[in-house]
């Protein structure tokens, strides 16, 4: 039986009330302290085979008979009006099968993809599909667009001074900061600035659309196959059941691959018009300028505390640059939610700029806000002469300070203790010297959501050879969620992980699944898989009971064997499944809601050790100790990989990543993978990773998400380590040699 259940859904800090379809579920939770087999052991990812053999089919690899190649004509101007466009000339080119301009744009007037008033350099103006790349180039050239240009704003400070707001400022207040500062023995005020960070996934945004009278099939590189299905159905007024979205493998996303963007609706419209399948793959320049970025931000925080370090007030003012689209990312959430502080007042101003649309990027807002908060708190600790880690412990909050709600679990203090032990925090002052190379150690706390929730559904089936298939309606960006699904199913079925095949990335399959984002996927889907696996387990035991004439309740299933509780009966599971012929035993499961009235968060602490060459300004991150509390760990190897990836992107943000925009032309001047610096293998610090690992007692399976957490505190920990090494604060990223030499004077 399935029921509709009212749930509170929290997505990156935004709470929504919704109804969700939940199946009855009598899967027993594991006992506290129980160590179920396979869970938490290291496991190779289930897709490693195709991914290392070159047989993994990414969207860019899709080739269909008769397929056309498509491309987008984009505005070269940051602000302009299109005064001429020759679509007919493009259509007259040999080999061009479809060409569209703003008048033909999919999306209707509300959300037209093609525009005649481009508001950023790179805004889509027209699109062409052709038989060959040569015909495509000729078709694009024939469009001959003409523009009337206008003034533009790309600089964040200039946008702020013009007060060109994208939407209303976002304000938060509790208590009375004035009285809080009056009660403070020390106050620190600091402004942290950071430029945009580009996602730079190696697989660009791309889509292949095959529009047929009986239905539309979309292959695309996406974080949400169901989101794309709904977008396409909505934009073209189609029955969602007639839209099939396939995303078998996604070559990185990091937040930029939500929504259908320009590629999906344009490929769909071109396929509809030409009657041919159409492939549209963005160039690297398009990828770096039109598909999103972490917003540039300027965050000023004033913190006040009593002499013992107890926070009395936090006041914050922030500005973020959304370019031409986005939402107000929660840059003040850390100031509001990490520590027990009675008086908090923050305001965030979202600004419009003549730049491409912003997009969520791994811990959007929270990473930026953590850099500001943890840097400012470090200054406070220094001023008060309190150990920085101790200052954080003293401001620990047992309840969510913003809502007063109890946490489902919070083991942040254990993260501090473990990180301090692993990093050798007690001896950190011995790292320091007066030589050319200065070393130091700094810490920062991590806060994020990540509890997951419904809707998420899974189907498990087992066949005659006791090999099982798990079907989930989600996509795998490389996070390892499919491997986690395999582990959880294998545990219920008492078979090795290698006996499980995971099918995903196709809306035609069973099991509607969550999007991949917000560190929610794992915590959403894993309980559904476990419930489905448990139903199959119960049926297998029932069948065994029938065969061996014993009550199913007296049987267990483990290590490929069905055993009676008294140990008298032992049979391989295949003895039962072998009777199935070509039938399967199947089970379906769904994710139930999280408890109402509780705050679900993930926690952590990172401690960075850095070496600064005071002669060259080179900052080397030698080691990052990362200890996170994300509930139960399903795959210790996959979890470590997530941490390594997050930390490395944090190192990139701190040390080198910066979108550079020429204020004179409004153009991004480093829209490639050479001038936009990202960490290489030579930039990898030693990463020491550990987890508290205790299951969250209020969440199904005890699991929380890990995608976002590891990137959140890295930049702050590096900046604080630099200050420990040199006595100088870095408040603007990236911490380039030039900036460091200037800071050191």
């Amino acid at each position: 039986m399935a029921r509709l259940v009212r749930t509170e859904a929290v997505v990156e800090g935004r709470t929504e009330i919704r109804y969700t379809l939940v199946e009855d579920d009598d899967t027993p939770e594991w006992e506290p302290g129980e160590r179920p087999p396979l869970i938490g052991e290291p496991a190779a990812r289930v897709s490693a085979g195709p991914r290392t053999a070159g047989t993994a089919r990414f969207t860019t690899d899709i080739v269909l008979p008769g397929m056309l190649e498509a491309a987008i004509l984009r505005s070269p101007h940051p602000n302009a009006r299109l005064t001429g466009l020759d679509v007919e000339a493009a259509l007259a080119v040999d080999g061009v099968r479809a060409a569209i301009g703003p008048a033909d744009s999919p999306g209707g007037e509300e959300s037209a993809v093609l525009t005649d008033s481009p508001g950023y350099a790179g805004a889509p103006v027209a699109a062409v599909a052709a038989d060959s790349r040569a015909a495509l180039r000729a078709g694009l050239a024939a469009l001959q667009p003409r523009y009337e240009t206008a003034g533009f704003v790309v600089d964040l400070d200039e946008a702020l001074s013009r007060q060109d707001l994208f939407s209303d400022p976002s304000e938060y207040e509790r208590g009375d900061v004035e009285s809080g500062f009056a009660d403070s023995a020390a106050t620190v005020e600091a402004t942290h600035n950071m430029p945009a960070q580009l996602h730079s996934a190696l697989e660009p945004h791309c889509a292949v659309v095959d529009w047929r009278p009986d239905g539309v099939t979309v292959w695309c590189s996406t974080q949400s196959i169901y989101g794309i299905r709904d977008d396409v159905a909505g934009a073209f007024d189609l029955d969602p059941e007639r839209v099939r979205v396939i995303s078998e493998f996604v070559g990185g996303a990091f937040g930029a691959k939500f929504g259908s963007g320009a590629v999906v609706p344009l490929a769909a419209e071109l396929s509809r018009r030409s009657g041919r399948p159409v492939r549209l793959v963005l160039s690297r320049r398009e990828e770096q300028t039109t598909t999103g970025y972490r917003t540039p931000a300027s965050i000023t925080l004033k913190v006040g505390a009593s002499a013992d370090g107890t926070l009395q007030a936090i006041e914050g003012e922030g500005a973020i640059g959304l370019g031409s689209d986005g939402w107000t990312y929660p840059i003040m959430e850390p100031a509001k939610s990490v520590y027990a502080c009675p008086n908090v007042h923050t305001i965030v101003v979202p600004l419009r700029q003549n730049l491409g649309p912003a997009a969520a990027f791994r811990a959007p807002g929270v990473m930026e806000g953590t850099f500001a908060l943890e840097g400012t708190l470090d200054e406070l600790a220094e001023q008060l002469g309190i150990d920085p880690l101790e200052l954080r412990r003293r401001n620990h909050s047992e309840n969510d300070p913003a809502t007063g709600r109890p946490y489902t679990s919070k083991r942040l203090l254990e993260c501090y203790d473990r990180a301090a032990e692993l990093a050798g925090w007690e001896g950190r002052d011995r790292l320091r010297s007066d030589g050319r190379i200065r070393r130091g150690m700094g810490c920062a706390s991590q806060f994020w959501w990540g509890g997951g929730g419904p809707p998420a559904y899974a189907e498990v089936r087992i066949g005659k050879r006791a090999r099982a298939t798990v079907t989930v309606g989600l996509q795998d960006l490389g996070t390892g969620v499919q491997t986690a699904c395999a582990i959880v199913a294998a545990e219920r079925l008492g078979v090795p992980v290698e006996s499980i095949t995971v099918r995903a990335g196709d809306t035609a399959l069973a099991g509607h699944g969550p999007f991949s984002g917000g560190s929610m996927t794992m915590a959403s889907i894993v309980p559904a898989v476990r419930a489905a696996g448990h139903k199959v387990r119960q049926q297998i035991l029932q069948l065994a009971g029938d065969m061996f004439e014993i009550g199913a309740d007296d049987l267990t299933l483990e290590n490929g064997e069905i055993r009676s509780v008294d140990g008298a009966l032992v049979h391989p599971i295949t003895e039962v499944t072998g009777q199935l012929g070509n039938a399967w035993v199947t089970g379906s499961g769904s994710r139930g809601p999280n408890p109402d009235g509780m705050a679900v968060n993930t926690w952590g602490c990172q401690i960075a050790t850095v070496a600064v060459d005071t002669a060259t300004g080179e900052l080397r991150v030698e080691k990052v100790v990362a200890v996170h509390d994300v509930g139960r760990i399903i795959n210790s190897m996959g979890a470590r990989s997530q941490v390594a990836g997050g930390v490395l992107q944090g190192v990139g943000f701190a040390l080198m990543e910066e979108r550079v925009v020429d204020p004179n032309t409004g153009l991004v001047v480093n829209a490639n993978l050479e001038d936009y610096k990202m960490p290489t293998i030579a930039d990898m610090p030693e990463i020491v990773c550990d987890f508290v690992g205790e299951p969250d007692p209020h969440l199904a399976v005890g699991v929380k998400g890990l995608g976002e957490p590891p990137i959140i505190p890295t930049t702050a920990a590096i900046a604080n380590a630099f200050a420990h090494a040199t006595g100088v604060r870095l408040r603007e990223t990236p911490f380039s040699p030039r900036r460091i030499l200037e800071a050191l004077g």
Binding site: E203, G478, I681
Partner: protein
């Protein structure tokens, strides 16, 4: 112009536009889509293949320059490549897997020339292959596992 090129042991005679790149030949004409494209301008290492015994960027290499030469891609078969695949899986030297074919080919080139590299040599040889997911630690470990000790 006609070019004779051997790909994974298979000889092909290609009559193509002088501007055709090796990457386009592999992906669009020979259906060898294991080699991925990420930047198309020689900056990320994703499209690395072996030309004779050296790693090259297939997005910048013209087919016309490959006449009489031998190309190996991730679809090829060799004991070394098999060992590296297994090692990448065992050390989790990949996440999304998009850079993996290029990483594997750079690793093959390294270990063929230098079967016992130091960690520093591994890092240097692999430093032209970007991995945005950050699987670098596993990649180093995988190459070192396959190296002759």
């Amino acid at each position: 112009m006609e070019t004779v090129i051997t790909v994974n042991g298979q000889r092909h005679t290609v009559a193509a536009d002088d501007r055709l790149t090796l990457g386009e030949l592999l992906r669009d004409h020979l259906d060898l889509t294991g080699t991925k494209m990420a930047c198309g301008e020689g900056t990320c290492g994703t499209c690395t293949v072996l030309l004779d015994d050296r790693p090259v960027l297939s997005c910048l290499t013209l087919v016309a320059a490959c006449d009489g030469r031998s190309v190996r891609t991730v679809e090829g078969r060799s004991p070394l490549l098999e060992d590296l695949r297994a090692a990448f899986a065992a050390t989790d030297g990949l996440q999304c897997g998009y850079c993996t074919p290029g990483q594997l080919m750079s690793a093959v080139a390294l270990l063929e020339q230098n079967p016992s590299p130091t960690t520093e040599e591994v890092v240097t040889a692999m430093s032209g292959n970007l991995c945005r997911c950050g699987a670098y630690a596993g990649i180093i470990e995988a190459v070192e596992r396959v190296a002759v000790r």
